[in-house]
């Protein structure tokens, strides 16, 4: 099972970090970054299966590929921004972390503009 390996990896990394954080805090930050990235890389193939299943469902339900692509992009931005913000918060840089989260929110807003335009267009055609 994959989850056992991931849990063992997390526990091992935490144990090493416990010792390392006192001696070398800068290397501890890099190690926690590596552990987080390794865990996420390990679960991405599962996510890929989920996404293909969802895109099949969306195609059968008649949802436009444009809208589904936007949803995927938003989820990807959220994941990446969360990873970066967590690493920065781990280094006690709360300001940078909140700026990264803010940038993620703005980029998500930029990505979702076509959906908002679609809603406005739909309302206009309904009212006309």
């Amino acid at each position: 099972m994959d989850i056992f390996q991931i849990v063992i990896l997390g526990i091992t990394a935490s144990l090493i970090l416990l010792i390392l954080r006192r001696e070398r805090p800068e290397l501890a930050l890099v190690l926690s970054m590596a552990a987080g990235a390794a865990i996420l890389v390990a679960v991405l193939p599962g996510l890929r299966m989920v996404i293909t299943a969802f895109s099949d469902i969306a195609r059968e339900a008649g949802v436009g590929p444009l809208y589904f692509g936007i949803i995927l992009k938003v989820v990807a931005i959220a994941y990446i921004a969360d990873l970066g913000a967590s690493i920065c918060r781990d280094a006690d840089e709360n300001l940078i972390a909140s700026r990264i989260e803010m940038a993620g929110k703005i980029l998500i807003l930029v990505c979702s503009i076509p959906i908002i335009q679609g809603i406005v267009e739909l309302i206009r055609t309904l009212l006309a």
């Binding site: 290397l27 190690l31 590596a34 890389v41 996510l47 996404i51």
Partner: protein
């Protein structure tokens, strides 16, 4: 299958850097001790950046991003 060997590699490098730092500091060369720390951080960061780049590439291909 997460790659655990990178974690242990970083831990071992951190131990080596710590020991070298302590030895050089005992010898009274404070500036070299600082350089050793910097070199260790750069080496470890270059190892981890490859993994993070792999992760970003995997996210890109998973979410069908350009």
């Amino acid at each position: 299958m997460p790659n655990t060997d990178l974690i242990f590699k970083i831990a071992g490098l951190a131990i080596i850097v710590s020991v070298l730092h302590a030895v050089v500091k005992q010898a009274g060369k404070e500036e070299y001790a600082w350089l050793i720390t910097l070199t260790g951080v750069v080496i470890v960061l270059s190892m981890v950046l490859g993994l993070v780049a792999d992760f970003f590439q995997a996210v890109k291909s998973t979410f069908n991003l350009p």
